[in-house]
Structures are given as structure tokens and as C-alpha cells.
């Protein structure tokens, strides 16, 4: 069971050239696939295509195949997609419904749309709030949260739909270091506890180094590098592709450049 892209190529409506592809990608349940790349490399487009929102909701033209657990994403209705594949965007403000008075109701918005019975809605909401680490915010007004808190509430809202796959489009891009740590902690917990397959687009390679099992690097809509996270994030070609290596990798290079011995103990201490 997986999200599978095979020779997938996508062109936005009104655009002459493809923004993505052809690309092959597989996100299995329980695995975290990180995606990095320079601006305009096709990362957000990959999110929309993998989630079935492009062309399903935003139009455009797609070639190749995108299958979610074997079903053609184009054949699934938006609410069916939502229960298989949850997506979290960069801006927390656009994620929230702006129609609820408390965080609890905000997270319940999705399950309520599915017409679930109230006990199941309540159970899902508490589980999602717990997984995202924001149980204590349940009674708060969603319009009065900090950026990191709002992003975590948005994550809980997606989790409450119980998707088998999560697609996260730079969820920490608007956050300060404290907010980034909060979201990264929550994602680590979600990956471990829910067993969901996660496609994580992220500029901050430290977050990828911590969470991802595999990493792919995009360049002009195509895969330029792919493989196990540690290997890709230490690849010397990373900087040429517009991606800053994680702090640990940069530190190791600096230490070696200074002719200081890089030991396993030092590497562990840096981690």
C-alpha cells in the first residue's frame, strides 16, 4: 500500500511547460520521504499532484499515473481523497476554517463534514490533538494562536481525518526556531505513532535529517538526487542544487577542513 507516482508530469492551466516531471515516487505506509530543492523546483506542485488535488481541484493537465493504494487519484472525489491522503500547506492561516470558536471544534470540522457520530468525532479529535501535542489548546480560540500553535492545530485537523498518508508542504516555513522544534517534535511523534506514510517537503534540512527515512532532491521538476536520508543530505552536490546541508554535515565538513579528526563520538554529540 502506497502513494505511487509513475512517469507523472503536470502542467498548470494556462502554462505551456510542465512544472513537474516526469517523476517516479513511492511513499509507503510508515515511511517518511523528505523532499528538498531550490525555489521553483516543483516541490509544492509535487504535493498537489501526489495528494490528487492537481488537477482534480485546481485544474491543469497531468500525464502518467498517480495511484493511492492502487486507486487512480483522478478517479477519487475530494472527500474520498481527504480520508486517504491529508495535506498540510505552508500557511497556517489558510488551513483553518475560520468558522469555529474553539480549537476542539476546529479539529472536529473535518470529521463532522464526514457525518461521523459524535462519540467517534470526539474520540478522533482527542487522538489528533494528542498526536499533534496540542491537547491543552482545545478550549482556545483558533484565531488567537501563535504561528507554531496554529500550524500544529492545522496538523491535528488533518490527522482527525485519519488519512493513511500525510503530505506536508513546508509546514515550518513561517515558523521561528521554537515553532520549528514544536512541529518537528509533533511530526516525529505522528510518524512513530500513526504509522502514516509521510511526504514532507522541507527547506530546513535539519528537520529532514531528524525525521525522514529517504530524501529526494528536485531540480526543475525532476528528481536530481534520491536515496536514504543520511546519504542524500551528506551528498556534496546538495549545495549546487540550492539546498543547504544540515548543520551536522556542515560542521563535519568544517571540522575536517580544519584537519581535526572527526570521530563517531563527536558525530553523536553533534546529533
Amino acid at each position: 500500500m502506497a502513494i505511487e507516482l509513475a512517469s507523472a508530469r503536470y502542467r498548470y492551466a494556462g502554462s505551456a511547460s510542465a512544472a513537474l516531471g516526469p517523476i517516479d515516487l513511492r511513499v509507503e505506509e510508515g515511511r517518511v520521504v523528505g523532499v528538498a530543492g531550490a525555489n521553483e523546483s516543483g516541490k509544492s506542485t509535487l504535493c498537489l499532484v501526489a495528494a490528487g488535488l492537481a488537477p482534480g481541484v485546481i485544474g491543469g493537465k497531468r500525464d502518467g499515473s498517480v495511484r493511492i493504494d492502487g486507486a487512480d487519484a483522478a478517479a477519487l472525489k475530494p472527500h474520498e481523497l481527504a480520508q486517504r491522503c491529508g495535506i498540510l500547506f505552508q500557511h497556517a492561516a489558510t488551513q483553518l476554517s475560520h468558522s469555529t470558536a474553539t480549537v476542539f471544534e476546529e479539529v472536529a470540522f473535518g470529521p463532522c463534514n464526514l457525518g461521523l457520530r459524535i462519540p467517534e468525532v470526539v474520540e478522533r479529535v482527542w487522538a489528533a490533538l494528542r498526536a499533534a501535542g496540542v491537547e491543552a489548546l482545545a478550549a482556545r480560540d483558533p484565531g488567537r494562536l501563535s504561528g507554531g500553535q496554529a500550524q500544529l492545530v492545522a496538523l491535528a485537523s488533518v490527522l482527525a481525518m485519519r488519512p493513511k498518508y500525510l503530505i506536508l508542504d513546508e509546514p515550518t516555513s513561517e515558523l521561528d526556531p521554537a515553532g520549528t522544534t514544536l512541529v518537528a517534535d509533533a511530526l516525529t511523534r505522528v510518524a512513530a505513532e500513526t504509522g502514516a506514510g509521510i511526504l514532507l517537503i522541507e527547506h530546513k534540512t535539519d528537520v529532514l535529517a531528524r525525521i525522514a527515512d529517504e530524501v529526494i532532491v528536485l531540480e526543475r521538476g525532476a528528481v536530481a538526487l534520491s536515496g536514504p536520508a543520511a546519504a542524500v543530505l551528506a551528498d556534496p552536490r546538495l549545495s549546487d542544487l540550492g539546498v543547504e546541508p544540515p548543520a551536522a554535515v556542515r560542521l563535519e565538513r568544517a571540522v575536517r577542513a580544519a584537519a581535526i579528526e572527526w570521530s563517531a563520538a563527536l558525530a553523536e554529540a553533534v546529533r
Binding site: 475560520h98 463534514n113 464526514l114 470526539v122 501535542g133
Partner: protein, 271 residues
């Protein structure tokens, strides 16, 4: 950034109190449909009953109800927000009312008239009554209660959601306008001082505001889809606003009032 609240909340299988909350006060606890029906009656009365009695009576009722429901201050703020429109109505009628021939004075080619002033003031009062009636219904009705009531009555909630969410987005839009203004100031744009400088400062604000809002709309639409907003079937309602006997009586009275005013107007007994 702290994620803990002062009082930890217990998780459980039932809805928390802050979700099942009941509005306090007579007017606030009326059913949303009742408040809308009353607002419709007020608008019809303000615009149909001739002279000052229509808007005067409606404004008097609104002030009393707003004071009783503790929304008078917010209503006054909304009234001030309508001042530019009120001023423009006054100016246009003062100088350009067709057929007016009772000049107050002559200012070059312009001749403000008493009938223009009178008509402008009355139109402004009607407009104020209209905006206050709608504002009072909004201020005393949470958007989610309105949505729940519409869902229960089997009415399309998409329209209500769009309007409700748009109103809830106003603070975010104001915040973003401030951010853009600060950015323009940082780049040397003078937005202080004389009125014409302030107006000139609005020009570079418009494009980022409009394009930013448009791009947010697409992301919001996708976020809603990913939370099952368009799922078929009835949505689960966490809290259903009560619809008591007093609500039904008030709605019938409001409907009868609208019909009576229309009948009196048609038969020429008023106006």
C-alpha cells in the same frame, strides 16, 4: 511559545462544556433564523416606512437591543466604519439632488439645498439602520451556530460558510495590510502626514493585498476540500442552537410585520 494552558483539560468520550456552551441573555439565545427574520423586518421597516419614523424607530430598537445584549460598543464602532459612506451620501445629495430648488447658499457654481440635506440625512439614517440591523444579528450569532442551524434546516451552508469565514478573515486581512504597509514604509514610501500622501500610500498596498488574497483563496479551497467540506450527506452537528416556541412566535411576527408594512405601502396607507 508555550503549548500549555493554565488549566489542563480532561479528555473524554463526551463533548466538552465549552463546545456545548449556551449563549447568555435573551437576544443572544434566540435562534439564528429568528435573529435574521428580525433583521429583515428592521431593514424593511427602515426603508419602507416614510419619513424619519421608519429609520428612527428601527435605530431606537437596535440601540436598546444592543445595550441589552452588550454589543452597543461594537455596534457604534461598526457605525463609525460606515461614516465615509454616510458622508458621501450626504455630499452627493446636498449638492446634486435632482429637482431640489431651495438653496442653503451659493458656493461658486455649487448650490447645496435644504431638500438635498434632508434627503441625504434620511438616506444615511436608513443605511445606518440597515447596517446596524445586519451587524447586530452578526454580533450576537456565532458563525458556527448559523452554519449548524442552516445545516439542520437542510439549507445550503456553502454560502453561509463563505460569508461567515470572510467576516472572520477581516482581522487577518487588516493584519496583512499592516504588514504590507510596514514593508512599503521600509522601502521609503511616505504614508504619513497629509491626506493626499496617505491616499497615495494606498496605491502600492492594493496589488499585494489583492494578489495575496487571491492566492490564499485557492489554498483555502484546497484545505477545505482536504477536510471533507464537500462530502455528501448530512454533517454532524456538535451543537444545535435551540429553536423554542418564542423563536417561532417571533419569526411569525416578523413575517407578519413585513407583510403588513408591504400591504400598507401598496395600498398607499403609508408613504
Amino acid at each position: 511559545m508555550a503549548l500549555s494552558s493554565p488549566r489542563p483539560l480532561a479528555a473524554g468520550p463526551v463533548l466538552p462544556d465549552y463546545v456545548t456552551r449556551k449563549p447568555s441573555g435573551f437576544y443572544r439565545s434566540l435562534n439564528p433564523a429568528t435573529k435574521l427574520a428580525v433583521a429583515v423586518l428592521e431593514v424593511v421597516a427602515a426603508f419602507t416606512i416614510p419619513g424619519w419614523s421608519g429609520p428612527g424607530l428601527v435605530l431606537a430598537v437596535l440601540v436598546v437591543v444592543a445595550a441589552a445584549s452588550r454589543t452597543l460598543r461594537s455596534l457604534i464602532v461598526i457605525g463609525f466604519a460606515a461614516l465615509p459612506l454616510v458622508a458621501s451620501i450626504l455630499v452627493v445629495n446636498l449638492f446634486l439632488l435632482p429637482g431640489a430648488s431651495d438653496p442653503i447658499a451659493r458656493i461658486g457654481p455649487l448650490a447645496p439645498t435644504w431638500s438635498g440635506l434632508w434627503f441625504g440625512l434620511m438616506t444615511a439614517a436608513r443605511l445606518l439602520a440597515f447596517s446596524s440591523a445586519v451587524a447586530l444579528a452578526y454580533l450576537t450569532t456565532p458563525v458556527d451556530d448559523l452554519l449548524a442551524d442552516f445545516s439542520r434546516r437542510g439549507l445550503g451552508r456553502r454560502g453561509v460558510f463563505v460569508v461567515g469565514a470572510a467576516v472572520q478573515m477581516v482581522p487577518r486581512t487588516i493584519e496583512r495590510a499592516g504588514e504590507i504597509m510596514d514593508a512599503q514604509r521600509a522601502r521609503g514610501m511616505d504614508t504619513e502626514g497629509r491626506i493626499w500622501r496617505r491616499v497615495r500610500g494606498l496605491v502600492p498596498l492594493a496589488a499585494p493585498m489583492v494578489f495575496g488574497a487571491l492566492s490564499e483563496v485557492e489554498e483555502r479551497a484546497m484545505a477545505l476540500e482536504s477536510r471533507g467540506f464537500t462530502a455528501p450527506g448530512r454533517q454532524t452537528l456538535l451543537r444545535v442552537p435551540p429553536d423554542r416556541l418564542i423563536d417561532r412566535v417571533l419569526r411569525w411576527l416578523a413575517a407578519a410585520g413585513v407583510v403588513a408594512i408591504a400591504a400598507l405601502r401598496i395600498t398607499g396607507k403609508v408613504g
